[in-house]
């Protein structure tokens, strides 16, 4: 991890342009409202969430068995199954498949797992050109940026900015900002890609242990286009993507897109089971820290995530700090739980990038206790020694004061102690409270002092 800035610094930079923050906030709030309307149309929405959560609970409790069952069924279908312990192994496996087929240009549909593994960079270094076929992914790829959102990768870009990127890279006329025209330009450009690539990589949304098949959800049909036109289809999935039986798909497909964008279902929910005649279908099952997280009881639930992005859209912090401030492949509330598992030191700031308001937990279609896990990560991170020293000293001083009623009263009476060390200002250097806010006016007496004067006799 080459990150130097933490979430607070990155979001301060993002907030330098307030109208842009407003636009970002409103765009995502619009999606959150669409999600609300979609959820409200299903009277049993909460039951559906509970059901999904329990199905995933079963999967996580029996992951070993389901994985073996899935592997056996997939193999029986003629799928070539690979296992990757970590990101490196995943990237090597994909590269080896491409090498075997002498492929140096690949089309890829959206997969957050490959972002997590930094596959594009790895393949580029090894001389393989990768074109992302999801429109949003293609935009950030051309802009040489990582996605800022797991469902809406280029949500941070305005349409005028997309027009400029397309002008520069795809030769569209200057000043083009009509979404329809931009989409058409991208479509023409991608058509050529689809027709000439012999290998296609996709993600996996749900893998069915019972049947060995898997489902990919896209709105653009780009996964199908890639997979159906290429000779080799490589699908990469985290080992937690399993569901036990095909009948469970109904639960998840109903929840996924309603939570993500407010649509009843994705435009394409494509089922893949076996390779076509003369073609190869590879499936890479990736651990990359997931079994470690499975072993952390407090954080196990985070593996239920179906990557709908609802927690990001609802998160008041995410909306006002932008996805890139999380400096990790999966941003927002869920990313802040997953990232410290992968690298606690580099991501020690993320569990603190939340007010713990709990909205994420409420929208999550699989009922992950997101904000409680963020709270728990804070305890772990501090215990493991990743809190900054100033904060630690402040906390110790505060604890000592609070532990002694006499000191507390004295300190309070001195008044200024509280101004300097009040809980909310504990981390102060130049008092960040005062930068854009006034301090409360100190009253002439504390409640304790008032009480002694006015109610003392009664309760002496």
């Amino acid at each position: 991890m080459k990150e130097t800035k933490d979430h607070a610094a990155l979001s301060e930079a993002f907030n330098a342009d307030e109208p842009r923050v407003n636009w970002h906030d409103e765009t995502l709030w619009f999606v959150r409202q669409k999600r609300d309307r979609a959820a409200q149309t299903i009277p049993d929405w909460e039951l559906l969430r509970e059901t999904a959560s329990r199905i995933k609970h079963n999967v996580l409790s029996n992951l070993h068995d389901y994985l073996l069952q899935f592997e056996a069924s997939a193999r029986a279908n003629g799928v070539i199954v690979h296992w990757a312990a970590d990101a490196r192994e995943h990237n090597q496996i994909v590269h080896a498949i491409l090498q075997k087929h002498k492929v140096d240009r690949m089309v890829k549909s959206k997969s957050m797992l490959t972002e997590e593994c930094h596959l594009n960079e790895y393949l580029a270094e090894n001389g393989v050109e990768v074109i992302d076929s999801d429109l949003g992914e293609r935009i950030v790829q051309l802009a040489k940026e990582p996605p800022s959102h797991i469902v809406l990768p280029s949500i941070h870009k305005k349409k005028e900015e997309v027009g400029m990127i397309f002008h520069e890279h795809l030769g569209t006329p200057t000043g083009m900002s009509d979404p329809q025209a931009l989409t058409e330009a991208a479509r023409q450009h991608l058509r050529e890609t689809f027709l000439t690539r012999r290998a296609a990589l996709t993600g996996v949304n749900f893998a069915v242990a019972e049947t060995g098949e898997f489902v990919i959800c896209t709105n653009e049909g780009n996964a199908d286009m890639g997979a159906h036109l290429a000779d080799v289809h490589i699908a990469c999935m985290g080992i937690e993507k399993l569901i036990p039986e095909r009948k469970h798909l109904g639960v998840f497909l109903r929840l996924l897109t309603r939570s993500a964008t407010g649509q009843p279902i994705t435009t394409y929910s494509s089922h893949f089971k076996k390779p076509r005649e003369g073609h190869e279908l590879h499936l890479v099952l990736v651990d990359n820290g997931r079994s470690v997280q499975l072993g952390r009881e407090d954080f196990r639930n985070s593996l239920k995530c179906i990557r709908c992005g609802a927690c990001m859209n609802t998160c008041p912090v995410y909306r006002r700090s932008g996805g890139h401030s999380y400096h990790t492949a999966v941003a927002g509330p869920i990313g802040s739980i997953l990232a410290p598992n992968l690298d606690m030191k580099a991501n020690a700031d993320l569990p603190f990038a939340s007010t713990l308001c709990g909205s994420c937990t409420n929208v999550c279609p699989v009922k992950i206790d997101i904000h409680d896990q963020l709270y728990k990560w804070r305890q772990v991170i501090v215990r493991e020694g990743y809190a900054d020293t100033k904060k630690t000293m402040g906390m110790k001083a505060m604890t000592a004061t609070f532990a002694s009623p006499a000191t507390f009263k004295l300190a309070g009476k001195a008044g200024r102690w509280f101004m300097r060390h009040a809980p909310f200002a504990v981390n102060n250097r130049l008092n960040p409270w005062y930068k854009q806010r006034d301090m409360p006016a100190p009253p002439k007496e504390s409640f304790g002092e008032w009480y002694l004067k006015n109610r003392k006799k009664k309760h002496e």
Partner: protein
């Protein structure tokens, strides 16, 4: 019934009027209230910052202060939630458990325990109610906009008993104001932006006062209002429920 009054440290120091109103309101409703003088801070700011392991002493102190009461009531959803979820003691686990079970936020105590159905209060102003997250989503003081479930709101139920009070609608019903304990300084930029947006929602709908069941959110919003030289005021909900304005 005796109630132990639990006043959060910053309310004691900065907002004694909210504490006085809480005390007077409970007394008016016939409750025997005592304020243990040796209370300091419940330890929430430490715990929220990841220093929960330093909270043992504040937990012990809290247990010493509040063990004897039938109920413990505080004018703060956030501090109550902390006690409810995190107070523990290796030495006196039974007492800690009893405390976790009998601690109440003021409005839920009024609606659920005292079952208040009328108040002698008058406050003829346009008021915006800020739903503080820890109270709303943590203690479930009101239905949350994310859930598909019938609406209810304990603070609103009480405010509707106040004569002359006009509750304003908000565009975003229950969005966080961005206070978040140490978040408000550790993440100053986002915290302030959230606070500004929250305040703007109230202002756009013509609120003359902003109220909440958590003083910390109000302190944050007050800081922003003052900086903007706005004459909109913040008042803890206890001050409105206890108001006699003619």
């Amino acid at each position: 019934m005796t109630v132990g009054l639990f006043i959060p440290c910053y309310v004691d120091q900065f907002y004694p009027n909210a504490a006085i109103a809480t005390l007077e309101l409970l007394e008016k409703l016939g409750v025997e209230v005592a304020y243990p003088l040796k209370q300091t801070c419940c330890g929430q700011p430490m715990a929220n910052s990841g220093f929960g392991h330093l909270a043992a002493e504040s937990d012990e102190l809290f247990i010493r202060n509040f063990s004897g009461f039938d109920y413990i009531v505080a004018p703060s959803g956030s501090c109550v939630l902390h006690i409810k979820d995190h107070l523990h003691s290796d030495k006196r686990p039974a007492e800690a458990k009893a405390i976790r079970e009998k601690v109440y936020e003021l409005t839920e105590f009024l609606t659920d325990v005292l079952k208040v159905d009328s108040l002698k209060a008058r406050f003829p102003h346009r008021v915006g109610l800020h739903q503080s997250c820890h109270g709303q989503r943590g203690l479930k003081l009101a239905q949350m906009s994310e859930l598909v479930a019938p609406p209810f709101s304990k603070p609103e139920q009480l405010l509707s008993m106040v004569e002359g009070l006009e509750l304003v609608d908000l565009t975003r019903q229950d969005e966080c104001c961005g206070f978040g304990g140490t978040f408000c300084v550790a993440e100053e930029a986002v915290s302030v932006k959230m606070g500004k947006d929250r305040v703007a929602d109230h202002l756009q709908h013509g609120a003359a006062y902003i109220t909440a069941s958590d003083m910390s959110c109000l302190m944050h919003m007050e800081g922003i209002l003052r900086r903007q030289k706005s004459n909109v005021k913040v008042l803890h909900i206890a001050e409105i429920l206890n108001a006699q304005e003619l």
